[in-house]
Structure formats: C-alpha cells, structure tokens
Symmetry: C2
Subunit: 209 residues, 2 copies
C-alpha cells in the first residue's frame, strides 16, 4: 500500500513501511504505478490531485469528533489513533492538538522552527543566525544566538507544558524528535499521520477494492 501526506513544502510517502519524502516540485513529476492513498493540505495542489489517476483522497473518510472549524486533515490524521493526549506536529508550522476520550478539545498553531529563523533574518541582518539546540532553558541568555533560541524553544516548551497537564505527549514531524527531548515522558512517532491514514483505510475496507 502506498500512502502519501502532502504538505505545503513537501510530500511524505510510506510504501510497505518504507518512508520517503519529495519536494513539491519532485512530487509533481512523480509517476505512480499503484494506487496512492493521500491526504493533502496544499491548496495549490487540490485541483491537480483530482485529475491524477489512482490517487484516492482519504479526507472524506475520517470520522473525527471536533467542533474546530476547518481543522487540517493532517492534524486530524495525526490525532486519529490517539484516545487521550497532546499531539504536536512540528513541521513548517507547529500544530498542537488536545485529544481527550477520542474527542478533539481544540488546538493551536506556531511557526515551525525553520520559519522562526526565517522571520528573524527578515527583521534584521543581526538576527540572522543558527539556533542553539543545546541552549539551557534555565538561565537567561547572554548573546543573540541564545536569546533567539531561548525565545523560540522556551516559548514552545512552556506552551506544551501548559497544555499537557497530565496528558501524554505525542510528537511527530521533522522537528518532533528534537522537541520531544525537552520532556521526560514524550513519544516521538515519525509515522503518526500514516497510522491515522491506515486506521481510516481499515475502517473503510471498500477503499482497497
């Protein structure tokens, strides 16, 4: 089975438990030899995907309990296998969603880590620098690189801590593994979205026909 999760900057695939990722440019050239079960949040690709042969959009099949208006299907898929917990998908944006008894209680959005760096560099050339991934969150910074890193990482840390209360944390996305390190009990699951996609296919076996 070939699963595909299409975002704003790339498309991730899972093919018989093998993971690979294409830029959107490369994805547009991608030729499939079998059915592709996909979810997509990239507005620019919506029409293109409808015309692709053997591309099956899973979005209509998710049965997800939420009152959130316009929740992205990637966030739904990431939450779909979690009964109780906080789901953090750290990609070009960071989305943080709360699930309790399989009900979505709401969620919020931050810029992704690379995009924090991008906006700092746009504000002033003095703020164009790498972030320090070794930064201590317990001491006030004493140089620009640490000041930016502390603002970003401690901000994300405090928001997640405030949100989690006693819930389990489930991280996914490109920066998920790094962010999970700030917490003692956190699960990093690179394939969380694909697990949600698999679950929806299991719930709708007709899709495999």
């Amino acid at each position: 089975m070939l699963l595909c999760d299409i975002g704003n900057s790339s498309a991730s695939f899972l093919h018989h438990n093998k993971y690979f990722c294409l830029s959107i440019e490369k994805f547009l050239e991608f030729k499939n030899e079998e059915k592709v079960y996909y979810i997509n949040v990239n507005e620019r690709l919506k029409e293109h995907l409808k015309l692709k042969k053997d591309f099956i959009n899973l979005e209509p099949y998710f049965a997800f309990d939420t009152i959130y208006q316009g929740l992205g299907v990637d966030r739904i898929a990431a939450c779909y296998t979690i009964n109780d917990g906080v789901v953090i998908d750290a990609g070009s944006a960071i989305t943080i969603d709360v699930v309790s008894n399989s009900i979505h209680l709401g969620g919020f959005i931050l810029p992704g880590i690379a995009n924090y760096r991008k906006i700092f560099s746009q504000i002033s050339p003095k703020l164009r620098c790498e972030l320090n991934t070794q930064i201590s969150l317990d001491a006030f910074p004493q140089r620009t690189m640490d000041a930016l890193s502390y603002g970003v990482f401690k901000g994300i840390y405090l928001l997640i801590k405030d949100t989690m209360q006693n819930k389990k944390l489930y991280f996914t996305g490109g920066d998920g593994k790094f962010l999970a390190n700030f917490f003692n009990y956190a699960i990093y699951d690179k394939l969380l979205i694909f697990r949600g996609m698999k679950k929806v296919i299991e719930q709708n076996p007709n899709l495999l026909l």
Copy 2:
C-alpha cells in the same frame, strides 16, 4: 532637546515631550535644525549617520552593567532607568530583558506580533489572517484565527510570566500597550527608551555644549 531612536523599520523622535515617528525612508530625507541626540540599531544607517551634521550618537555614553555580548543600544536604553524589573520592548521584534539591582541578568528575543502574522502568511495562504486580540487564553481555540492568536499571545504571555517571578513589568514599543493588558500589574511607558537617553545625557552634561 531632540531625541531620536532609530530602529529597523522606523525612527522615533521626542522633541520637547512631543513624540513623532518616521519611516526609515522619510527619516533619510529628514533635515534637522538643531542637535539630534540619537541611538541606532539599524546597520544600514550606521555610515550615513556618521556623516550627518549635528547628529550625536549616545551609544558610547551608556554605562550599563551586563555580560550580554552585543546587547542592542535600544535594549540598553530601555533598561537604563530601571533598577529592578523585566523590560519588554514590543516592536518589529519583542525583546525581554531582566534587570536586578541595576544589573542586567540577560534577555531574549521573539518575533514582533506583525512579524508572526507575516511568517504565518508565508507558510500557507490558509494561515494568512488577522490575529484575534480578544482571544481567551483559558480555552483551547476552535478555528484558525484563534489558533494562531493563542499560539502567539499565550506563548508571549507564558514566557513573560515565567521570566518575571516577582518583578515589575515595564512594557514599551508599538505593541507594548496591548501586551501589558494580559497582566494585572504592568507599567506601559511609551517613552521608556527616551527616558534612558535623557538619563545618559544628564550623566554626561558635556553633551549639551
């Protein structure tokens, strides 16, 4: 006396207790009829300012106790009249600095509110929207606009709360008044940086000759 605080996107003036602000473009055309006492963090203007007649750079005159490497002179000026407190300057970036017994303990940096909006709109057209300044920080958001607003405002709120401990909060900058509203006991002082500049002139009366 004419004071001028030059940033990356604009230059603020204080002239006999009257405040006005010019875009950097307009500032470049500005003709002074009296001495201008200025501070500047805009790298592109450094050489230009050296050539301007009757422009006096106050930066060398600040005597500020810090081990922070390369602390911007605007942050020094904002902290310069505070003996004890947390100073938040919310402009194109948000800087948060801690002062204790007139010693700078360190500080950190976040994107300014308008720049959060800018980066969201660059991530995805779906994230291009106004922020909700009426957002509740006590309930999980249920739509995109609130999800972005909560991420930004609650993130800033938690960082300041974590930093302040029992210290007083001093807000300045374009978004300072708005952010001060999140706290019960906060001082908003639009002219905080100018007070620091006045203090350094008082400490160096030769500058007035």
